[in-house]
Amino acid sequence: MDDAFDIPDPTDWLETPLKDFSPLENSLHCDICKEFYDTPMITSCCHTFCSKCIRTCLSANGKCPSCQAADQASKLRNNCIMQTVVEQFLVARPAALDVARKEQQVGEQAKKPGKRKRTVLDSDDVAQEERSGRMTRRKSKRIAASQTSEPETIEIEDSDAEDGDEAYAPEKEADDGLMECLFGCGKRIKPEEMDTHLDRCEQEKREASKAKSRTPVNITNHRPPAAPDKPAPERISELNVSLLNDKKLRQKLEDAGIPSWGARQLVIKRHTEWVNIWNANCDSGGKKSQRELLRDLDSWERTQGGRAPNQNGPSSSIMRKDFDGVGWASNNRQDFSRLIADAKRKKSNPSAEQPATKAVDMVDAEPQSANGVHMDGSDDLRPQPLSDQKHHLPDDNEQPDRSYENNAEALSSIRDKVEATNEGRHYEPQINAGFEPATTNGDHDPTTSTEAPTTTPVGVEHEALLLSSHWGSTRKDEHLSAHLPSSPVKVPMFAVPARPFSDVDGGNVS
């Protein structure tokens, strides 16, 4: 739970030398959700809250939570500067916190010299643990985690890191008669050149910070206003439910693309929530897709809406800590043993059912597709049947897999079919075992078979092409053949699937 919910908190600052950052961070928090402002909006009474939070409150009772003044969601305005401040604070926070914690450890160690063997025990966690008896296990874990996980963010030399001036001051004492740049760019300049340098330095710094800040800002929130390719979504208004009868109300929800089931009261609540979710997204410039918004609505549905767990007792979706596993097992012993037996039976003969039904399907499919398709004889277009390896046809002559080579029966059946298709007559699939080997040393010539398409109607050829690509993908499923029985089965060599298939690549099927 700790890891899943590791939230930055103002109390993180309290035990560091920068404890004044705690109220600062607190003031960047929304008073409703107690988290950093997300799309802050300012009310008519000049209070600021997250867009979603204040919209939810106003839709519930139409009053500002801070001062109880009446207000309307339509009067909310973006508090853009607060948004920027929060974003920038979040960018600066990890490094600043790291510096503060380092500083604090240094201070701690200086305070108690020689009390223990520092060389051995000089671990950050130990120092942390010792310093504060009140610290919880969770916190020390978190501190340790943050120290191990982001050591690279420590930038002690950065004078912007609120480190205080005392650590910085001694460095100024250098006897070369030069002054360090007041903006902290690190350069040393003659005092008389300082003014011109400062102008330039300031300019550079501003540009650098602009470039630096652009990335994080874009990641967290801002979309450039009015992106030309995607117009900002428009806000929707709340329904005047008293004017709508049940049917019309549900229709409205369906029009909006949200579920319309449940009692009237629930439907109204759901629509209100949807309006809030939607408009909050509008406030943020539409950074979420409709799919994400629907997911948000669904999560509302599961926590507060129609599918919320019963108010009494813990939610049913979570297993209780004191769940009586033994009791449950004994109560349901019968069901469990039946399931186990089922699974064991399936495991012992995995090939029994599935492939058999497949073979039957293929045979059943045969009569409908018997016309025309069999004439396709060209080797590269030939579909690979889902049968035993022995019946695989060569894709081309380079193919190393020639398992059919010594199988006279298979070879004969292949030749039979090739001849049949070359002559343009229908080939009647039969049980392969019933075939007599016709010629044992007749060479299989792929060039002869390539002539076949000339006799094939164009549509059929096209279909065959699609077919081959279709089979091509299934051919990779080599494991399928392992499940098939090794005895010859009634599988037609030139079958098309019973169902028409759609071209997933997006090409047009004529």
Partner: protein
């Protein structure tokens, strides 16, 4: 699955564990369910309740923080603003729309900007300074108003009993 309510409750829990106000401890009874908390309030110094430890249960609604939690003491607490069944009657726990006694300022009542911490601090100060304008426990209120020494004696006896002394 995290709802707005559970996220905020977790945030408050974290805040209360790292920086608890004096004399107050609170947290979910079980990590499986963030909507039921137990709080322990120490009797305020300088009041007859001093030295006592009062456990209470907080139950949060699904639409917290829009709606306030309910609070009930799990021990006997002889107090004008605590019902005999332990339920606490305090304005901060009353939803904005409801005002059972028609005397509360809207600003005193629940609003989403309040928090568990503020509730518990309010309850602590309520324990120290009963409000007898709208008593939940009329007998206790009358005793508090008319026979203060007896009231204090009874409370102190309760505290000692609860501590097993």
């Amino acid at each position: 699955m995290t709802s707005v309510a559970s996220k905020r409750l977790y945030q408050e829990y974290k805040h209360l564990t790292t920086d608890p106000p004096e004399g107050i401890t609170a947290g979910p009874v079980s990590e499986d369910d963030l909507f039921v908390w137990e709080a322990i309030i120490a009797g305020p110094e300088g009041s007859p309740y001093e030295g006592g430890v009062f456990p209470a249960e907080l139950k949060f609604p699904k639409d917290y923080p829009l709606m306030p939690p309910s609070m009930r003491f799990l021990c006997d607490l002889w107090h004008p603003n605590v019902y005999t069944n332990g339920n606490v009657c305090i304005s901060i726990l009353h939803a904005p729309g409801e005002d059972p006694n028609h005397y509360e300022q809207a600003s005193e009542r629940w609003s989403p900007i309040q928090s568990v911490e503020k509730i518990l601090i309010s309850v602590m100060s309520m324990i120290a300074e009963p409000n007898d304008e709208s008593p939940a426990n009329v007998d206790a209120a009358r005793m508090w108003r008319e026979r203060r020494p007896e009231f204090e004696k009874r409370v102190k006896a309760d505290v000692r009993k609860s501590l097993g002394l």
